[in-house]
Amino acid sequence: MNILRNMGFGLGILLLCSGCFKEIFFENVPDEQSLVVQGTITDVPGPRTIYLSYTAPFGRQDPERISAAQIDLLDEKGKKWPYEEILKGRYVMRDSQLRILPGERYFVEIKLTSGEVFRSEIQGMPRSSQIDDIRLTFNQLEDNRPLRVSVDVSALGNAKGTFLRWSLLRFARKQEVDQFRIRPFSLDIPTPKTCYITYPVNEQSILLFGTDRKDDFKIRQQELATIPTDRTFSDRNMIQVVQYSLPEAAYLYYRKINTITNQVGTIFDPPPAKVRGNISQLNDPDRIILGYVDLAAVDTAVTFVNPSFFEPVFISSDCMQDFSRPDWRDTWGFPATCLNCLLIPGAGVQLPKYWKP
C-alpha cells in the first residue's frame, strides 16, 4: 500500500508534466527546537544506543546533540541499567550481560541538565523472527544493472501480529595499489592496506513489514533494496541485514515516519503532520517529543558478493592509471584513494564483524 502512495503519480504523468517539481522556500518559519530521542533496546547484548538531540532548522542537515543527560533503562520492577555518554549526544549501555526475553517489559528514563524528566512508554519484547536466507539477484539487462537484495524470513507468531524492520549495511573491500610496483626504488613505500568501507543502503527509507497474522508463517523474497552496481563491487562485498522484530506500536510509528518522508506530492499523500513518538515529559504530557525508543528482538545475517557474481559483466576497479588527472604527479596517475583507502568516507582497516575472507 505504501507503493501506492510512493508512486502515485496518477494521471499527472500522463499529462506530460514539464517542470513539475521545484524547490520551494517558506518565509517566517519559527526558530523553535524540539527534543528528539532515538534508540533501540535490543534483546541481545550489543550497542544499545540512544541519541539525544534537538531538531535542526529546516534545510540544515545536522541537529544539535544534547550532552550530559542521565539515561537509564528500567524494567517493571524498577531495576535500572545506566547509559553513559560516549560521544556528544550519543549514549550507550555498557552492560553486556542483560538479555531481554520475549514478553519482558522495559522503558527508558531521561533526565536533562535542565531538570526535565522524560520517559518512554513501557513496551514488551516481541518474539524474534528469523532470517532464513538473503537472496541477491542481478539482471544485466535491467536499467542501471542494480543488485537486488531480498530476504526469506520465518515469522514467529505474536499476540498482535508480526512487525519487522530491517537495516542494511554494505561493506566493500578495497585494496590499495602496491606502490612498490610503480616506484620500486623508493625508500618510503608504505605497505598497501586493505580497507573495508561501510556504505548505508536505503538510507532515506525505513524498511518495514507488518501483518496482523498471529500464526507462524514464511515470508518469501521480501525485497529490501536495490543497490547500483558501481566500481565498489570490483572487490568482495558483504551485505549485512539486521532484522528487528518490533512491537506493533513501534511499527505504526515507523510507518508514519515513512509516510511523511516518502511523500511525492500526489493526491495519495496524507496531509503531513508532526509524528509523536513514545516519549513524554513527566510534568508536561502535552509537549510533543519527537523520536522513538523501541524494544526489538534482533536477528542478523550476512551474505557476500564477489565480482564473479556479476559475470558476464565485468566490473573494473577504479584504480587505473590515468595521467590526465590534475594530481597525477602526486599519485602516479592513480586516484588518491587507491594509494590511501582511508581517504574514502566510511573506510576503516578493521575487519568488519561477520566478514569472511
Binding site: L15, I267, P271
Partner: protein
C-alpha cells in the same frame, strides 16, 4: 510566325466569347447595395434583395442554407462584396449563373451537374425559400367536444430548445382569442387555464422560430413544444436563461444554473466538456487542484455536496482520478447548483446540491450527436420507439488514453494502463397526458494501473424510475425509486504484500414529491424521502501466490435516512415573494454491528476499550434527527433590482472518510454512528441583484456565513484502511465559513461572459478531551481548501455566425498546507518536522485557457453537421503547485518541493457532431 498568329486568333476568339459574359457580369456585380438588417435570417435577407433588385434571383439548396440571423449594414457597397459578407462563415460560395441569377453552392461541391439540377429544381418549383422566421403552424386536439367538461381546462406543457432539449425559460404562450398569456418557468413549463374550445396559441421567444398552435381543447392537455433556435443568438439566449434564474426577478439566492451549451463552449483539459470542472468557474466553487475529484462550495468539504443525476445520488463523480467527470455532456438537460438557499426537497448534505437532469429522448425523430476527442469519444442516440409515446436515449463514452502513455520516456508509464467509460440509457413513456414514466440506467467504470506497481478501479451503477402524475389542475406528483451501487478496488499485484482491497456502497432511494398550487400566487411543495445505505465490507485478499496477506474483511456501518418536508412559495406582489419550508430528517444506524465502549475521560483509543455490545441485523444502534428550517425572501427594490436573503439548516448523516490531500477512489463513505454524530450546518445568505432592462447585463453581490457543528476531522496521519474502530481516528470539530461573491455577467452582444470575484474563508477547530484528540491546541485553523481570493473571467466572442472564441482565466490564493519547519534524524533517515496544521500556503494558482470553435452545425437543416474546437489549456504553461512535499536535495539536505500536476500547455482538438 504561324504559332503567334494562332495564339492571337485564339485570344481574339476567347475575347469575343467573353464579351457578353463580362457585360452580364457587369450587370450584376456593378450593382451597389445599401441597406440595414437587424436579426434577419439569411434566406429572408436574400429574398429581400431579390425583391429590391428584381429580377435578381438566388439559387441554393434550401436544406443547406444557413439559417442564422444577421445584423448587417451596407452603405453603397458592391454587390459582390455584399454577397461575400452575407456568406461569411457559411461554407457557401457565390457564383454567377446568368446576368440576373446567382448560385450559392457549397465550397466543396461546384460541379455543373449539381448546380444545374439545383437551378432546375428552383425553376420547377420543387425548391422554395425555406420558412424560417415565418411561423410554423401545428394542430393539436385534446378530448372530444361531446365530452367537454364545464369550467376551465388545464393546458400544460414544456417548451424546449429543439436542438439541445434544454428548457426555454421565459418563452411566451399567448392565447390569441383571450389575450391570455404566460411565460415558461425555469423548467420551461407553462400552464394555462382556459375553457373548452378551439384556440390559436402563439409561442415565441427571441431568436427562436415562432410557432402557431391550433388547439382543440376539450380535455386537459399536455403540449410539449420544440422551438428551433436561430443559431447566432444561441449563446446569448442561453445565458439569458441563466439571468432569468439568477437575476433580480428570481426569488432564490445562491442558485446557479449552467447551460450545457456553456459547458461545451468552455475551454477544457483535453477538449472534454466537463460538468464538474465548469462549475468551478462559478463564484464560491473551488477545488483542491488539478486532477482532484469533486469540488468545494462555500467552504464545504467535497462530501458536503449532494450530486444527483435524475434524483439518484452519485458517490464518486470522477473519471480518471478527477481530471474528468462522469456526466455525458450530450445527455445532460439541466444543471442546477444550489449553494445558498437549498429548497426543502433536498437534504442530506451541508453545502450544496448539484441537480443534473438528463434529457428525454426525442419522441418524434431519431437523431444523434457525439464528440471525438484526443482521449475519449462519446455518442448519444435518441428517438422514438413509438412515436409520441415511447422515446429512448442512449449515450456511450469510451476513453483511449494509451497513446498518451506511450509519449513518456518512462518504461513503467509505458507499461501502464488507464481508461474509463460510461453509458447512459433512458426510456420515457408518455403513458397519458397526465402520466409520464422515465426509466434510467447508468454505469461508469474506471481502471488505472501503474506499471506492475499498483492500480485501482471504481464503478458507479444506477437504475431508477420516475413517475410523473398530474392529479388535477392543482396537484402534481413525482415518485422516484432509485437503486445504486459504488464499487472501488485498489491493488498491488507484486511481492509479499500483493493485495486487492475493495469497498463499496449500495443504496436505495425512494422519494415522493408533490406540488400543490393553492392559487396563482402560492404553491406548496411537500413530500417524503427515504435513503437506505448498505455499506459493503472493506475487504482485503492476497493478489499473488507468494503474498502473505490473509483474506480479511471489516464490516462497515449501515444506515437509513428518512425525511419529510414542505415548502410554501408565496408571491405577495410582483416585488415581494418568500419561501418558507422545513425538513424533518431522521437517521438510524443499523446493525449488525459490534459497538465498542471506551473508558470515559480518556482518549478514544484501542487501549481504552472497556467492553463491547453486539447488535443484531436491522437493530437500531444510534438515532439522530431534527428539523431543518429553510427560509428565503425576495424584496424587489425596483423592476430591475432586488434584495434576497435566506436561512438554511442542513444535516448530513453520511461522510466520506479520507486521509489524503484530496479524495481517492477507495475512500469509504461512512454513515453516522454512535461516535460519529451528524454534521449540522446553519447558513445565512443575502444578496443584492441588479440587471438592466434588456437583460444585457446582470450584476450581483452575495454574502454568506456558515456555522458547522460536528465537523468531521482527522487525527494526524490517521489509519483509516481496514480499521474496525474507525472512530479512534476521527474527531468532531467546529467549522465556520464566510465570504462575499461578486458577479457581473454580460449576456448579449458579440462578447458574452462573466467576471466573478469571491472572498471566502473557511476555518476548523477541534478541541478534544486529550492532546491526541486536539488539533493545533484547539485554535481555529484554515481548512484544506481555504482560498481567500478567487477570480474567474470567462468570455466568449462570436466572431461570425460559425466561428467563436472562448477563454477562461482563473486565479485563486494558494491553498493551506502543513509545511516542514525543521528536521531530525532517525538513524540514517532524515525526518522533516512539520508545522501546526495548515499554517502555510502554496503559491497562488492562475491559469488561462482558450478555445476556438468552428461550428457548422447550424449551417445545415439536415444531415451530418459538425463543429471543430481547438483548445489550449494552461496557455502560458504555468506550473501551478498542487502540493508540497519533502525530499533530500542533491547535497543530502532536507528540502521542500512543490509539485505541479500540469506543468505545460496542453493542446487538444475535438470534433463535435450531430445528425
Amino acid at each position: 510566325m504561324k504559332q503567334r498568329l494562332h495564339l492571337l486568333l485564339t485570344l481574339g476568339l476567347l475575347l469575343l466569347l467573353a464579351c457578353p459574359l463580362l457585360a452580364q457580369q457587369a450587370d450584376v456585380f456593378n450593382l451597389r447595395i445599401s441597406g440595414s438588417y437587424q436579426d434577419r435570417p439569411l434566406p429572408e435577407l436574400l429574398s429581400d434583395l431579390e425583391t429590391r433588385y428584381a429580377p435578381l434571383r438566388f439559387y441554393y439548396v434550401p436544406e443547406k442554407i444557413p439559417f442564422y440571423q444577421l445584423t448587417i449594414t451596407f452603405q453603397d457597397e458592391p454587390f459582390f462584396q455584399v454577397v461575400k459578407k452575407l456568406l461569411d462563415g457559411s461554407l457557401l460560395s457565390a457564383g454567377k449563373w446568368s446576368a440576373t441569377e446567382v448560385i450559392l453552392v457549397p465550397e466543396d461541391n461546384r460541379n455543373r451537374a449539381f448546380v444545374q439540377e439545383m437551378v432546375n429544381k428552383w425553376k420547377t418549383g420543387e425548391y422554395k425559400p425555406p420558412v424560417l422566421t415565418g411561423v410554423l403552424e401545428k394542430s393539436y386536439s385534446f378530448g372530444s367536444i361531446e365530452k367537454a367538461p364545464n369550467g376551465k381546462l388545464n393546458l400544460k406543457g414544456r417548451i424546449v430548445d429543439a436542438e439541445s432539449k434544454e428548457p426555454i425559460i421565459g418563452a411566451t404562450v399567448l392565447v390569441r382569442e383571450t389575450a391570455q398569456g404566460q411565460a415558461s418557468d425555469e423548467n420551461g413549463n407553462f400552464e394555462l387555464k382556459i375553457p373548452a374550445g378551439r384556440y390559436t396559441l402563439q409561442v415565441q421567444y427571441v431568436s427562436f422560430q415562432s410557432q402557431i398552435i391550433n388547439v382543440s381543447l376539450f380535455d386537459d392537455g399536455n403540449l410539449d413544444l420544440n422551438l428551433a433556435p436561430m443559431p447566432q443568438q444561441l449563446s446569448e439566449v442561453l445565458i439569458k436563461a441563466q439571468a432569468v434564474e439568477k437575476g433580480s426577478q428570481s426569488s432564490n439566492v445562491g442558485v446557479e444554473r449552467l447551460s450545457i451549451r456553456t459547458v461545451k463552449e468552455l475551454p477544457t483539459l483535453m477538449g472534454e466538456a466537463d460538468v464538474i470542472k465548469s462549475l468551478q468557474t462559478l463564484p464560491g466553487v473551488t477545488n483542491a487542484g488539478e486532477g482532484v475529484a469533486g469540488y468545494n462550495v462555500r467552504g464545504g468539504n467535497i462530501d458536503q455536496n449532494l450530486v444527483l443525476q435524475e434524483e439518484a445520488p452519485i458517490f464518486n463523480s470522477a473519471h480518471a482520478l478527477g481530471f474528468f467527470s462522469i456526466f455525458n455532456a450530450d445527455a445532460v438537460d439541466q444543471i442546477n447548483l444550489y449553494k445558498g438557499h437549498i429548497p426543502a426537497q433536498y437534504g442530506g448534505r451541508l453545502s450544496s446540491v448539484l441537480d443534473v437532469q438528463l434529457k428525454d429522448g426525442d419522441a418524434r425523430k431519431w437523431s444523434g450527436k457525439g464528440s471525438i476527442g484526443p482521449i475519449a469519444s462519446r455518442i448519444l442516440l435518441e428517438g422514438p420507439i413509438k412515436t409520441d409515446k415511447i422515446s429512448a436515449l442512449i449515450g456511450l463514452r469510451q476513453s483511449y488514453m494509451g497513446w498518451v502513455l506511450q509519449l513518456t520516456s518512462s518504461i513503467p508509464v509505458q507499461n501502464s494502463a488507464a481508461g474509463f467509460n460510461d453509458g447512459i440509457a433512458k426510456v420515457t413513456f408518455n403513458l397519458s397526458p397526465k402520466d409520464k414514466l422515465r426509466v434510467t440506467g447508468f454505469a461508469s467504470s474506471d481502471d488505472f494501473r501503474y506499471g506492475q506497481d499498483f492500480g485501482y478501479g471504481w464503478n458507479n451503477y444506477q437504475a431508477g424510475a420516475q413517475w410523473s402524475h398530474i392529479t388535477n389542475e392543482k396537484l402534481s406528483s413525482k415518485l422516484y425509486v432509485n437503486y445504486g451501487a459504488y464499487r472501488a478496488e485498489q491493488f498491488d499485484p507484486e511481492g509479499n504484500n500483493a493485495f486487492s482491497l475493495t469497498n463499496g456502497l449500495n443504496f436505495w432511494k425512494s422519494k415522493l414529491d408533490n406540488l400543490y398550487a393553492l392559487n396563482k400566487n402560492q404553491a406548496l411543495r411537500f413530500g417524503a424521502e427515504i435513503n437506505d445505505y448498505q455499506s459493503r465490507p472493506e475487504a482485503i485478499r492476497p493478489f499473488s501466490d507468494i503474498s502473505i496477506i490473509l483474506p480479511q474483511s471489516v464490516d462497515k456501518d449501515k444506515g437509513r435516512e428518512m425525511a419529510v418536508y414542505f415548502q410554501d412559495e408565496i408571491t405577495l406582489s410582483k416585488r415581494i415573494s418568500f419561501s418558507v419550508g422545513a425538513r424533518y430528517s431522521f437517521f438510524q444506524q443499523l446493525g449488525p454491528r459490534t459497538v465498542w465502549n471506551y473508558e470515559e475521560n480518556l482518549p478514544r483509543e484501542d487501549l481504552n476499550i472497556v467492553d463491547s455490545v453486539n447488535f443484531g441485523g436491522g437493530k437500531a444502534i444510534a438515532n439522530y434527527g431534527g428539523f431543518e428550517p429553510r427560509v428565503s425572501v425576495k424584496l424587489g427594490i425596483s423592476d430591475r433590482a432586488s434584495f434576497k436573503a435566506s436561512y438554511n439548516r442542513l444535516r448530513q448523516y453520511i461522510h466520506l472518510t479520507s486521509n489524503t490531500v484530496a479524495p481517492t477512489p477507495v475512500d469509504v463513505w461512512q454513515v453516522s454512528t454512535t461516535y460519529i454524530p451528524p454534521q449540522i450546518a446553519d447558513q445565512y445568505s443575502a444578496g443584492f441583484f441588479l440587471d438592466d432592462e434588456q437583460r444585457r447585463w446582470e450584476a450581483s453581490i452575495e454574502v454568506y456565513y456558515k456555522d458547522i457543528r460536528n465537523l468531521l476531522e482527522y487525527k494526524d496521519l490517521p489509519d483509516l484502511l481496514l480499521n474496525p474502530r474507525i472512530e479512534t481516528e476521527l474527531l468532531a470539530g467546529r467549522g465556520k465559513a464566510y465570504g462575499t461573491e461578486l458577479s457581473i455577467r454580460k449576456m448579449q452582444g458579440r462578447w458574452t461572459g462573466w467576471i466573478t470575484y469571491t472572498f471566502a474563508r473557511t476555518f476548523s477547530r477541534v478541541q478534544g478531551p486529550s492532546p491526541s484528540e486536539t488539533i493545533n491546541r484547539g485554535e481555529w485553523f484554515p481548512a484544506n481548501f481555504d482560498k481567500p481570493n478567487q477570480v474567474n473571467v470567462i468570455g466568449r466572442a462570436q466572431i461570425n455566425p460559425t466561428n467563436s472564441f472562448s477563454f477562461n482565466f482563473t486565479y485563486s490564493t494558494g491553498r493551506p498546507i502543513t509545511a516542514p519547519i525543521s528536521s531530525y534524524r532517525l538513524g540514517t533517515v532524515l525526518v522533516p518536522n512539520f508545522s501546526d496544521r495548515n499554517q502555510y500556503r502554496i503559491p497562488d494558482y492562475h491559469r488561462l485557457d482558450i478555445s476556438y470553435t468552428i461550428d457548422n452545425r447550424q449551417t445545415r437543416l439536415k444531415g451530418w453537421r459538425g463543429s471543430l474546437t481547438v483548445s489550449l489549456y494552461n496557455v502560458y504553461a504555468r506550473a501551478n503547485p498542487f502540493s508540497v512535499f519533502f525530499q533530500r536535495n542533491e547535497k543530502g539536505r532536507p528540502s521542500a518541493y512543490q509539485l505541479a500536476v500540469v506543468g505545460s500547455v496542453i493542446p487538444a482538438v475535438s470534433y463535435n457532431f450531430s445528425f
